[in-house]
Amino acid sequence: MLSLLIALPLLGTLIVALLPEKHGRLTGRAIAFTVAILSFVWSVLLGFKFDAELTSLQFVENLPWIAQLGLSYRLGLDGLSLPLVVLNGLLTWIAVYSTDPDIQRPRLYYSLILLLNAGVVGAFLSHNLLLFFLFYELELIPLYFLIGIWGGARRGYAATKFLIYTAFSGVLILAGFLGVVWLSGADSFEYNPALAASLPLSSQFLLLGTLLVGFGIKIPLVPFHTWLPDAHVEASTPVSVLLAGVLLKLGTYGLLRFNQGLFPEAWAIAAPYLATWAVVSVLYGAFTAIAQKDMKKMVAYSSIGHMGFILLAAAAATPLSNLGAMFQMVSHGLISALLFLLVGVVYKKTGTRDITVLRGLLNPERGLPLIGSLMIAGVMASAGIPGMMGFISEFLVFRGSFPVFPVQTLLSMVGTGLTAVYLLLLVNRTFFGRLPDQFSNLPRVEWRDRIPGIILTVLIILWGLQPSWLVHWSETTLTAMLTGPGAIATTPLVTPSTTSPKTSLKVL
């Protein structure tokens, strides 16, 4: 069942790649579109069949592959991977949909997008360390080409930078995995939370550090982030959507699954430093975003800030904060995808992303009013206005982390305030004001440009009003991760007072 999620896009890749050249533009697009829809629908169906009450892996598939190496094809779905798999399906579909139909070299493009989808899904589903690594590296290749071929003016530089950074992160992750298995003397690379439990603390720290830097590059955490703004600025809109929406989540997924999950003891000791690191990331991302002139760069830096919240929540490692981390991954995936899509539309219509040049785009007759309205919605969601997804995810993160790291949490909250500053400046400068003459003949915005944005906005509001639909999927898994063998014991500094009988019942 899970293999279908990987096999479908792979099959699609093959078919699209082998199409005769003259069919590439229309048939290739249609096939990619169908495959993306099918795998998205399949992932949603899996979500319905998924039993949220179970703590164990579901739909497990286990095939021995290279037993001598300890590599087996072991897939499984749990509450941590399910939302991300669905998110990946949705955003791949949106990326295919929002691709320019007249794109150059369509067969290669669509097959790479599908290959990327397969790689990411595989990584989220793998429960074998080596298999995860293989998929993690697999996703890197198509993305390199997607940035390097269809990117902007400096695409070669950005793609190479991305490749070197991510390959380096892959090497570190591989080293970490090898170290865990060799030092613990396990006979296979099968993922098991108790794998590293028997190791001495010093080697745990060493391995944790290696993996942390490896995933930290992908997330990205300051100071390993400089590939991200370049990659975003040069990548085309659909690729930016995938990059921000899904690819970064591989890093945070790894953070929860392979760092917090494998080294609970070392994690608990390192947690205060990690939380401080998160604060640095949040504030650095936010402040740097304020000074940007390029809309895409601004959104890219805001991603860095918002991914910092996930590190904070992961460091706190309470059931609630982990849930917040999960929620933040999905909400950031949707919101940043929305923002990149809209920036992409603005760029396509006006030919610039410079906020010092753009002005008055909300103009009802000659501007982009609906795109502007969606932009305001996206910006407000990102700034954490209630009623939308960004708020509840941030609230869960803060509420979950505050009892453990009060100071760091409060400082991170300054980051949400700053988010409002730069995103509001963006909207105010580009959409408010009088439309200058140079933009008075903008091309028409078609429904094709609007539909993806509208869908994402509706989802953001829907999950903002009904978060329990998403929370319900992940809660059991994430709580079990913290209470399982070798669970983390972070000590809360603030505990709910048990003086009043009414509240104490709730706490117990």
């Binding site: 975003a289 609230f395 869960l396 979950g400 709910p496």
Partner: protein, 611 residues
């Protein structure tokens, strides 16, 4: 039927929201054939429904215990977020005030916004605005209250930015959002902390917790300050007050609500929080100090304004300052009276200025004059509104302030002085504006000034009547003292302060050509007040400067230091590779020598390490 209406009282905020959502086809331009009017009528209808529903529930609650509705919203791990609603005479009364004023303002907007192309969008925003406010009135959970406050921030941003093509509107909307957001983020910090400490966010649980909680003084002080920060922003109190002044660039019907009930929402939240604020004496002191500063400062600043809306907006801050004092000293009755009387009178004043603006097409009072004979209903409304605001005649303002003077007469005489000052200065300001706008010789812009059309006149006149009836309403709710307990000794100075203000206001020399005083000190004072004590400048050189400098430094650091380092590493590796390629000479002796040297260095290192 009765029970049904009572049980569905949570619908009251939803009507406005429903109106806003269902008018989306018009406001997004999907439906163009009908024009925007159907959307406006639909929203108006929804507000009527909300008002009537609320009226019924209000009558049903009178004389009953308050009831609580709890809707479980999100349960995750140890967090149980529920949306609690309180149905009590107070909360329903507040909701009625909101929907009632919203109804009048929307009716007024039919006339005021008649020629605006985005009428549907305006009404959708008003519906959203009303929904957030009436929800706030009913909310009994700090979580819901916080969420609704943020919705108010958002809708204020959208309403102030309604005419987004104008440059002043752009900055006004930005400042309104960011200033309120500062307060909101601080409030969020308080909410998160409180949620972690108390375990629940429903006000009843919080009150229970507050009774027994023992907090470290520093923690309780910080908590209290964080909790009052949100209301400070909402109520436009120093130091987060400038947005209200700038927000006057927005459409007038929204200003009617903003100056009457929106600011009151902030104070209402504060009233709800008051039993928790008792934990923190610092916060109470801060409320009194900030309230006093704003009350006197804003009253003074108002006198120097020449924009008719701004002159009144500053006095809103001043009255809310009195509310802050009342809450800081734990006299909630006084706070409620002021909020009620001020909301109605100020809404009327703003309606009458709206009528003036729509007729004269200007907001500059130096360009007006002689309107009294041309616009009698508007003039009457202005006079009634002024009388309802200050204490000269026995209308709402008098009874509210009398309560305060009675309370503080013995314990805190200096607060009595503050009330007198606010009263006198407001009276002075209102008289000044009245003389400039309605009396004197007609100016070019006021020469052809017909009375406003019926769509604006009806709400104007109805609200005038309501303002006159405020004492009757207070009497009906038995809030007024009986004659036996009426204290002439405190009432007389209060009336005298109002009379003094009017007297000074009607005798000072007013020059419509905006002459600058010759004496340097007077000139300085005029500038100081006209520019809000240069607070904006203060922001610029402190907070704004700090944020922009830090952001520029971090962007520079990112671009040149971090990324520079990364690029340097890349460059060095490419460069060394490139230069090493020149060592490929093709002579095998040279390769042998390289290998030999390499191996010997390696061996030397190895022995060095082993020893």
């Amino acid at each position: 039927m009765d029970q049904f209406l009572f049980d569905t009282c949570w619908w009251i905020p939803c009507y406005g929201l429903l109106g806003a959502i269902l008018t989306l086809p018009w406001s997004t331009g999907l439906v163009r054939q009908t024009g925007p009017r159907p959307a406006a009528y639909f929203n108006l209808f929804m507000t009527v429904v909300a008002f009537l529903h609320g009226l019924f529930v209000f009558r049903a609650t009178l004389g009953h215990e308050s009831q609580e509705f709890i809707i479980h919203w999100l349960k995750a791990a140890d967090l149980d977020l529920s949306l609690a609603l309180e149905v009590s005479p107070v909360s329903m009364g507040a909701a009625e005030l909101v929907t009632g004023l919203s109804l009048l303002a929307q009716f007024f907007a039919l006339g005021y916004m008649e020629k605006d192309w985005a009428l549907a969008r305006f009404f959708a925003l008003m519906g959203f605005f009303e929904a957030a406010m009436s929800g706030l009135a009913l909310s009994d959970s700090l979580f819901l209250t916080y969420a609704l406050l943020e919705m108010l921030t958002l809708s204020t941003y959208l309403l102030v930015g309604f005419w987004y093509a104008q440059p002043l509107v752009v900055t006004a909307a930005r400042d309104a959002f960011l200033t309120k957001r500062v307060g909101d983020v601080l409030l969020l910090m308080g909410v998160v902390a409180l949620a972690s400490m108390a375990g629940s966010l429903n006000f009843n649980d919080l009150y229970e917790w507050a009774e027994t909680a023992e907090l470290n003084p520093v923690v309780s002080a910080l908590l209290g300050l964080a909790l009052i920060a949100g209301p400070i922003g909402k109520c436009a109190q120093f130091p987060l007050h400038l947005w209200l002044d700038e927000a006057m660039e927005g459409p007038n019907p929204a200003s009617i609500l903003r100056n009457s009930v929106v600011v009151a929402c902030g104070a209402y939240v504060l009233l709800k929080l008051q039993p928790i604020l008792v934990l923190s004496p610092v916060a109470s002191t801060a409320l009194v100090v900030l309230g006093t500063m704003t009350a006197i400062g804003a009253s003074l600043v108002a006198i120097a304004q020449i924009d008719i809306k701004r002159a009144l907006a500053h006095s809103t801050s001043a009255y809310l300052g009195l509310v802050f004092i009342a809450i800081g000293t734990q006299w909630t009755n006084f706070a409620f009276y002021i909020l009620f009387a001020h909301a109605i009178a100020k809404a009327l004043l703003f309606m009458s200025t709206g009528a003036v603006i729509v007729t004269t097409s200007t907001q500059d009072i130096t360009e007006m004059g002689g309107l009294w004979s041309r616009m009698p209903a508007t003039t009457t409304a202005y006079l009634v509104g002024s009388a309802g605001l200050i204490s000269l005649l026995p209308l709402g303002g008098f009874w509210a302030m009398r309560e305060g003077v009675n309370i503080y007469w013995v314990d805190a005489p200096w607060l009595v002085v503050v009330i007198f000052l606010v009263n006198a200065l407001t009276a002075l300001n209102l008289t000044r504006v009245f003389r400039l706008v309605f009396l004197g010789q007609p100016q070019p812009k006021t020469r052809r000034a017909p009375e406003v059309p019926w769509m604006m006149a009806i709400p104007l006149v109805s609200l005038s009547v309501i303002t006159l009836l405020v004492p009757v309403m207070l009497q009906g709710l038995s809030f007024l003292p009986s004659w036996d307990y009426f204290n002439w000794q405190t009432a007389l100075p209060l009336v005298l302060s109002g009379a003094a203000g009017c007297l000074v206001g009607s005798t000072i020399y007013l020059n419509r050509t905006w002459a600058r005083p010759i004496q340097a000190p007077l000139k300085f004072i005029q500038d100081l007040l006209a520019y809000d004590f240069y607070v904006q400048r203060l922001y610029e050189v402190t907070v704004v400067w700090l944020v922009s400098t830090v952001s520029r430094v971090s962007a520079w650091f990112d671009r040149y230091v971090l990324d520079g380092f990364v690029n340097l590493v890349g460059f060095v590796s490419i460069f060394s590779g490139e230069s090493l390629k020149y060592s490929i000479s093709g002579q095998s002796q040279f390769y042998l020598l390289t290998i030999l040297i390499g191996v010997s260095i390696f061996g030397a290192l190895l022995t060095f390490v082993l020893h």
